[in-house]
C-alpha cells in the first residue's frame, strides 16, 4: 500500500522507568494503539487522544502530546486543511467525523452576561427562600376561566383548553441520542437519571429498548425519517413523541448507522436486520410541507392517545418562519438544535459549515412567536451546545423554556470529546456496541453522575435566579432585559434583542 502523507496527530509517550508493564493500557484502548512485547509499544497513528489509558494507567506514566510537526506557516492553508486534502486524495471519500462543530466561530453565550439586583430591588437567598425551577412543556391556554370553588377560593372552570403538558422538575432535559449510536448502558444511565431528576430523556431515532420501559413516563420517543423501532405499543408507552426533522450537527442530511454497529439487540430495538446499514433518508418522505407536518403530528396524536408531540429542527437561516409554521401545525414544543450540537457521525463539511448558533435561533423564534401571538401555543427547548448552567440561564433569558444536554451528558459519563464516535470503538464504552467496552459504563454509576451534574446546575440556576431577584425560572424566560452583550456588534445585539453592557 502507498504511504499516506498524513502523519499521526498525537504522540503517545510512556515513561518506561515508571511503567509497571501491567498491560492495562493495551486492554483499555478501544482503538488498538498498543502492542505489548515486554512493554507497551504505542502506534501513534491510531491514537485519538481519548485519555482512557492515561486515566487508568496505575503508574501515571502515559502522556498524550500533540505531534508538533512544523509545517511551513500558511494562514490560508492550515495544517488541518492540508491533511484533509491528503486524506481525500487517499480515499476519494466524504470526510466523516463526530461530535459538534469545533471551529472558532464566535460563541455568543460567552459574550452575554446576566444582571443582578443591587440596592433598588432586593436579591433573594435561594438557600432560605423557595426558588421554583419547575416548568411545563406544551401548549398553554390562550386564557383561563375561573369560578368560585364554594369555599371562598377559586378553581379552573371546566375544560380550560390546557393541553397535556410535560412536567419538568428542572428546565434541563437529556438530548436525543439513539441506542445504536450510544450503548444500552448509556441509555439506561440516562433513563434512570431522568426519572430521579423528574425530567425527560429522549430515545433518539433508534426506538425504545424494553429495558427502558420502567422509565417510560420520563421518555420522549423520537420519530425520524427512518421510522425505526416504532410500533403502536411503544407509541403509547412514551410520555411524549418527537418528530425529528433535523439535527444541529448535520442539518438537512439523513442519518446512517453503519452495519458494524447493528448487533442483535440494536437490530431488535430498531426492528432492522443485523449487519445492514440503517439509513435515515434526508427528509421524511411523507413531509414535504407544513401541511404534511401537521398531518404527521396528528397521526402521532391519534395513534398514541393524544400524547404531546414536539418537533426537532436544526437552527438554520430561516428558523423563525419555519418555527412559526411548526407551531401552527400543532406541535406542543419545538426543539431548536444549534450548529454546535453533537452527533455520533456526520460529514465534517456539514458539521463545520452548516447551520447557525442556537443563541440567535432562540431569540428570533421567541420573538417571532410573540409577535404572532402564538408563543403560548408551544414551548421551546434549546440545545447545541449548552455547556454550563450559565449557558442554560442565558438560553432561558433569550426565550427558551428549557435546555437539552447531549455532549455534556456524555462528558459526565467519561467522554473526552475525541470526536471519534463514528468509529464505534469508544474506549469509554459510550458510543460503541462492543461488549467488552460497553461494560465500562455501570448504569447505576452513570445515573448518579448525571443526577449530580443536573443537580449541580440546578443549584447554580437557583443562585442566578436569586441574584436576579426572581423566584421562578419561568420569570426569567424571554427576559432579555436581564442580559447584556459585551463585544457583540450592533446588528447582532438587535437580532438578539439584547442591549450592550452600559445601556
Amino acid at each position: 500500500m502507498q504511504q499516506t502523507f498524513v502523519q499521526p496527530e498525537f504522540r503517545v509517550k510512556i515513561d518506561y522507568d515508571k511503567c509497571h508493564k501491567c498491560g492495562r493500557c493495551v486492554q483499555q484502548c478501544g482503538w488498538g494503539v498498543y502492542d505489548f512485547t515486554e512493554r507497551p509499544i504505542p502506534h501513534d497513528e491510531k491514537c485519538r487522544a481519548c485519555h482512557r489509558c492515561v486515566t487508568y494507567c496505575p503508574a501515571h506514566c502515559i502522556t498524550i502530546e500533540k505531534n508538533t510537526l512544523a509545517f511551513r506557516d500558511n494562514d490560508n492553508w492550515s495544517a488541518d486543511a492540508r491533511k484533509a486534502v491528503w486524506t481525500q486524495a487517499d480515499s476519494g471519500g466524504v470526510l466523516l467525523t463526530s461530535m459538534g462543530n469545533p471551529k472558532p466561530y464566535e460563541r455568543i453565550f460567552d459574550k452575554l452576561v446576566l444582571d443582578a439586583c443591587q440596592v433598588t430591588n432586593p436579591s433573594i437567598d435561594p438557600l432560605r427562600e423557595p426558588m421554583e425551577l419547575r416548568t411545563y412543556l406544551g401548549r398553554k391556554a390562550d386564557s383561563v376561566a375561573v369560578e368560585p370553588d364554594g369555599t371562598g377560593g377559586f378553581r379552573l372552570a371546566g375544560d380550560s383548553g390546557v393541553a397535556r403538558n410535560i412536567e419538568l422538575a428542572v428546565p434541563i432535559v437529556f438530548a436525543p441520542m439513539s441506542y445504536g449510536s450510544v450503548s444500552l448502558n448509556v441509555h439506561r444511565s440516562i433513563a434512570m437519571a431522568a426519572e430521579r431528576l423528574g425530567v425527560t430523556m429522549n430515545t433518539g431515532e433508534g426506538g425504545m429498548h424494553e429495558d427502558l420501559y420502567p422509565y417510560q413516563d420520563h421518555i420522549i420517543l423520537q420519530v425520524a425519517s427512518g421510522r425505526f423501532g416504532l410500533s403502536p405499543e411503544v407509541l403509547k408507552r412514551a410520555a411524549a413523541l418527537e418528530i425529528k426533522i433535523g439535527q444541529g450537527a448535520k442539518p438537512g442530511i439523513g442519518g446512517h448507522l453503519p452495519g458494524e454497529k447493528i448487533d442483535r439487540d440494536v437490530s431488535a430495538t430498531r426492528m432492522v436486520p443485523q449487519g445492514s446499514d440503517a439509513i435515515s433518508p434526508a427528509p421524511h418522505h411523507d413531509i414535504y410541507s407544513i401541511e404534511d407536518l401537521r398531518q404527521l403530528i396528528y397521526a402521532l396524536k391519534e395513534a398514541s392517545g393524544y400524547r404531546p408531540v414536539g418537533v426537532k429542527i436544526a437552527a438554520v437561516h430561516n428558523v423563525a418562519a419555519i418555527a412559526s409554521g411548526i407551531v401552527r401545525a400543532g406541535a406542543d414544543y419545538i426543539y431548536l438544535d444549534g450548529f454546535r450540537g453533537g452527533t455520533g457521525a456526520t460529514p465534517q463539511v456539514v458539521r463545520d459549515h452548516i447551520g447557525i448558533p442556537v443563541e440567535i435561533a432562540i431569540a428570533v423564534v421567541d420573538q417571532r412567536l410573540r409577535d404572532e401571538g402564538i408563543r403560548n401555543h408551544a414551548s421551546i427547548i434549546a440545545a447545541g451546545s449548552i455547556r454550563s448552567s450559565a449557558d442554560a440561564a442565558k438560553a432561558i433569558a433569550l426565550g427558551a423554556d428549557a435546555v437539552a444536554i447531549g455532549t455534556a451528558t456524555l462528558l459526565a459519563l467519561g467522554c473526552h470529546l475525541c470526536q471519534s464516535c463514528h468509529t464505534g470503538n469508544c474506549s469509554w464504552g459510550i458510543t460503541t456496541q462492543r461488549p467488552e467496552l460497553t461494560r465500562r459504563i455501570d448504569p447505576e454509576w452513570g445515573a448518579e453522575r448525571l443526577t449530580n451534574l443536573v443537580n449541580a446546575w440546578s443549584h447554580e440556576l437557583q443562585e442566578i435566579l436569586g441574584a436576579l431577584g426572581v423566584n421562578a425560572v419561568e420569570s426569567l424566560r424571554g427576559s432579555r432585559e436581564r442580559l447584556r452583550a459585551i463585544g457583540l456588534d450592533e446588528q447582532t445585539c438587535r437580532i438578539l434583542g439584547v442591549k450592550p453592557a452600559g445601556l
Binding site: 466523516l96 403502536p232 446499514d277
Partner: protein
C-alpha cells in the same frame, strides 16, 4: 409526570364536517357507523371505542376523506370495512387488524405500519407503505408517487405491498426489506409506463417484482435487474395467490407473464462513500 389531562387543543375543523359522535348501530360483534360529515377525531374515537368494547367487524359508511382510519390500532382479528374514500394515513402504525376499502384511498395508506392487512378496491395516492415493517397492503388500481419508500423487514416481519395497476416515480426508494409487487394489469392509462423513474433508488434490502419489463433508465443506480427465475417466482406465488383471492382475480393469469426482479446489489450501498477521520 403528566399533569391533569384535558382534551386536545381545538382543531380548525374543515368545512362540511361536524365534531359530533357518529351514529352507530350494533348487531352483536358487528357495528355499523355512519361517517357522513363526521370529523376524523370523533370518527376514529368511535372506531377505537367499538373495538375496545369487543366489536370484531366495524363497517363504516359515508367515508369521505377522513384521515387516520385505524391509525395505531393493535387489534388482530378485527375487520374494518370502509365504504367511500379513505383519507390520508389510513392504517398508519396499525398492527394486526384488517381494513378493506370499497373505494379509493388517499395518500399514506399503511404508513409505518407494523402488521395487519389493507385492501383497496380502487386507486391509492402517494407515499403508500412508507417505512412499513410488516403486514400487507393490496391495491387493485394505480398508485401515485413515492410508494413503498424505506419499507423494511425484521426477522419474521416482512411487509408486502401489491399494486394491480401502475406506479409513478420513486417506487421502492431506499427500500430496506420486504416485497413490492407491481402488476400493471388494471392501470387506467395505457400510455403510462408501468413505473416512473428512480425505481428502487438507494435500495439496500428486499425485492421489487414488476410484471413484464422495466427499462434500466427507470431504475436507481444501486439495483440489479433480472428476470425472476424459478426460485424467486416461488417466493412470489403465495403473495399473488393471496392478492388474487382478496381481489377476486385469477392467480394463473397474473403469473402467466414473466416478472422482472429488482434487488439491491449491496446491503451497504454507501459503505465506500466515507473516509473516517
Amino acid at each position: 409526570m403528566m399533569t391533569a389531562a384535558t382534551s386536545a387543543p381545538p382543531l380548525g375543523v374543515i368545512e362540511g364536517y361536524r365534531q359530533v359522535t357518529p351514529v352507530v348501530e350494533r348487531d352483536g360483534a358487528t357495528a355499523e357507523v355512519d361517517a357522513t360529515g363526521v370529523y376524523f377525531q370523533q370518527l376514529n374515537e368511535t372506531v377505537r371505542r367499538l373495538v375496545a368494547e369487543g366489536a370484531t367487524t366495524v363497517r363504516i359508511a359515508g367515508v369521505n376523506g377522513q384521515r387516520y382510519l385505524g391509525a395505531g390500532l393493535a387489534a388482530p382479528g378485527v375487520r374494518i370495512e370502509v365504504h367511500g374514500t379513505a383519507g390520508n394515513d389510513t392504517a398508519m402504525f396499525m398492527d394486526g387488524a384488517e381494513i378493506e376499502i370499497f373505494g379509493n384511498a388517499q395518500d399514506g395508506v399503511g404508513n409505518t405500519m407494523s402488521g395487519g392487512r389493507v385492501i383497496v378496491h380502487g386507486d391509492a395516492g402517494d407515499v403508500l407503505g412508507y417505512g412499513m415493517r410488516g403486514g400487507r397492503v393490496f391495491v387493485r388500481g394505480d398508485v401515485g408517487y413515492r410508494v413503498g419508500i424505506h419499507m423494511k423487514a425484521y426477522e419474521k416481519h416482512v411487509p408486502v405491498l401489491v399494486c394491480g395497476g401502475k406506479a409513478r416515480d420513486f417506487f421502492g426508494e431506499y427500500m430496506a426489506g420486504g416485497m413490492l409487487v407491481l402488476l400493471g394489469m388494471t392501470g387506467r392509462d395505457a400510455a403510462q409506463p408501468i413505473a416512473g423513474s428512480f425505481l428502487g433508488a438507494g435500495m439496500h434490502g428486499g425485492a421489487i417484482f414488476v410484471r413484464g419489463t422495466v427499462e434500466p433508465w427507470q431504475c436507481g443506480a444501486e439495483v440489479g435487474i433480472s428476470e425472476a427465475g424459478e426460485e424467486h417466482r416461488a417466493a412470489l406465488r403465495p403473495v399473488i395467490e393471496e392478492y388474487a383471492a382478496a381481489m377476486d382475480m385469477d392467480t394463473a393469469e397474473i403469473l402467466a407473464a414473466p416478472f422482472t426482479r429488482i434487488a439491491p446489489m449491496s446491503h451497504r450501498p454507501y459503505a465506500k462513500l466515507y473516509a473516517p477521520m
